[in-house]
Amino acid sequence: MFAAETELKEDPRLQAIFEAIRVIPNFPKPGIMFQDITTLLLNHKVFKDTVDMFVDRYRDMDISVVAGVEARGFMFGPSIALAIGAKFVPLRKPKKLPGEVISEAYELEYGTDCLEMHVGAVQPGERAVVIDDLVATGGTLSAAIKLLERVGAEVAECACVIGLPQFKVKLDSVYVHGQCTINGKPLYLLVEPRLLDC
């Protein structure tokens, strides 16, 4: 769900988070309006609010694993993990993790890529949250969910700062209030993407 659809609807923090994101047109290629969260990281109050919103949501959900997707998931995940007393597990591109790994391939527009996780990082039965800065196609998040489920963990939710509205569940072409899912898992998003200010 989008935070604005929950009791946080009137939360003034959301507007500031939205406005702190910078749009870079035509990056990495023409036609793409890149959502740049580095400007959010430069604003201490807004960065703290972003982390706090996730922490508030997950601190009482019995989460023992925060899995962050390389590389921008690393910027948000550890702070959340530290605040809720969970471990942080980096999910990385191939050949970055030095120990024994399991891999999950996922599709790109052209070709495939792979996400890896260290063997032994997560135990069966643990409850996990997957964090990334943004969800677009959902390919990386899906791969992340699979990695965690393959080792017997339960993915309680996926969380991103930004998400495309396509993840809202539709029932008979009407958006179901408050429900975003990815591969059947709940998905919690703070804001929608910004358009370019003209």
Binding site: R22, I24, F27, P28, F34, D36, T38, L41, L42, N43, H44, F47, K48, V51, E70, A71, R72, F74, M75, F76, P78, S79, A81, L82, G85, A86, K87, F88, V89, P90, R92, K95, K96, L97, P98, G99, H118, A121
Partner: protein, 264 residues
Amino acid sequence: MNALTGNSLKISRVNIVSKKFQRHSHSGNSVTLKSPNTSVNFQPIRAAITGAADSGETHSTVLPTESARDQLRSDMAASPDVKDGRIAGISAAIRVIPDFPKPGILFQDITTLLLDPKAFKDTIDLFVERYKDKNISVVAGIEARGFIFGPPIALAIGAKFVPMRKPNKLPGEVISEEYSLEYGTDKMEMHVGAVQAGERALVIDDLIATGGTLCAAISLLERVGVHVVECACVIELEYLKDGGGAAIRGEESAAEGGRRVGTG
């Protein structure tokens, strides 16, 4: 002018290796380290390692004078951080992976530290305690493991977080700094406008080996008028030569335990 003058890099000894390095300082603030041709001698202590996260970097160091080494050694012994009980837990939580990314390298894997909430929290707390009253407004983290430690520190001390990235990752206008690898070069980038002249900065990475990436980060920040107060790493690979070590001359590198790089 010494390289990295005005920056203090206090390096704490978590793993110790014995290695011979020659180091030269260049004009300005960059330090280029050339690779030694001699074979290296290792005196393993505990989980002695040579692991280099920046394994591709070339390095050479000029050993400092005897008096500088003595000063460093006594400074190290006097540092209160050395006795902090949290250090042992942090050190024990780091896993060594042999022959990664290539044979002969003992890689310092911090992912096991991240799986230990107490040790991870202690790591961050040690840095926060050190920096919270130093008027630091910028924490610059080096891709990618610097992104794991930097933001929690930045949030706790009220600073902004600035990612220092490999080429073509940052979407906006950037400035770049090239640095040497063992073979060839690499580049580090920072967004234009992320930091302002006069700001005080901390540079964070998980590990310092040769210092090449840290130097590139320092250069980027200083080019836009930022004062780099200190570089901080969880792990330092201390290079000892027959009981001596290579000090980054005139600097201290802060890491767990706050111990300086000692020579001798």
